[in-house]
């Protein structure tokens, strides 16, 4: 069972996601059966990314404000802008 609790933004820059994992046996957390062909080291590197299925990662985030405005005009939608010091998607 994997429980994902999401946290959006803070006064600092990193987008943080909390994942509580209760894994009973099987592959390391975050490693799917198709990834199991990887070496142990490869699986280890893959498994650190525990929040692959987090809801925020299903959002089609745009990273170019002008391109997003053009898409918003076409789709007749407002813009929801997540602006931080450091990029919200990482690379803070």
């Amino acid at each position: 069972m994997i429980v994902v609790v999401e946290y959006f933004g803070a006064s600092v820059m990193t987008r943080i996601t909390l994942i509580l994992c209760l894994i009973v046996g099987g592959l390391p957390s975050g490693v799917s059966a198709q990834d199991s062909g990887l070496s142990k080291l490869g699986q280890q590197c893959l498994a650190i990314d525990r929040d692959k299925d987090a809801a925020w990662r299903t959002v089609d985030w745009q990273t170019d404000l002008i391109a997003a405005q053009r898409m918003a005009v076409e789709q007749q939608k407002p813009l929801f802008i997540w602006a931080m010091d450091g990029h919200p998607l990482g690379c803070t």
């Binding site: 990193t14 509580l20 080291l41 002008i66 405005q69 407002p78 997540w82 450091g86 998607l89 690379c91």
Partner: protein
Amino acid sequence: MSVSLDQWYTRRQQDTEGEFWRKIAAQGPRKEAGQTQQGLYLVGVDGQLLAYTNNRGPERVRGLLEQAARDYAHPVDAKPLERQSTDAKYQVALPEGAVVVRVQARVDGGYTPTDDRWESLFQSAVSRDNLWITAEEQGALAQGTVPEALAVRILRFHLVDNTRGEPPVWSREEIREWSLTIENGKLVGSAHLETEDGSRGYQATLQGELAFGQDQQLQQCHIWVEGQFWGSGPFTRNPPPGKFPLVIAFRLADGSEPADSLAPHGSRGWLPGYLRP
């Protein structure tokens, strides 16, 4: 339409995107372009600010989005913006032939247990940054040599604790000892990074597996770093007490995530300083 951006860049850009951003931010509580304008903005396509919050609670964010769905009236004369100019100073592009490697870090224990909701989130966070490896460096790696610029780039900018916010990177002087070599096709190494006053440091080992295509382009990259970290920076406060285990994983990006296209944190403001540290 959801947009995420680093307003450190946007508020400085002297171009179409920067102008549009400043128009939006000037309507919010953080009008001064010289200071942070971070937050969550709900904006019409004409740049009219509809709502703003910098509250961290998901309830507030959900309320903002529900308000948009309820109240938004799309301007009948809305026009798509034309990009008239691009400020080259803030356009950090991946060098031709370079590859992107995802870098993720996690504190693997040592925190004082907490009942605080927010603190517990930080304690279990996994960070994300990108490492750029140039075409020339891939060629050297394929020949069994780790270029010093690449090694120092990894040490200075990527062996950091960025799990609680924007981290301080290491200066060259803070690299006390290091080794990074390729032996029998495997990457092996160690690092001792420490500030002059000893208040922050990281002692770690590195191991990795690399694979290349016929053109010597990196096709597989797995690097695992583990060691003891101590201390924090102005934006990474409340680390575990004393020394604590920090693990960092590197793996090749496949372009499937929006974050794969972002410039590395260490390149902010000066890409040459990142590529040739």
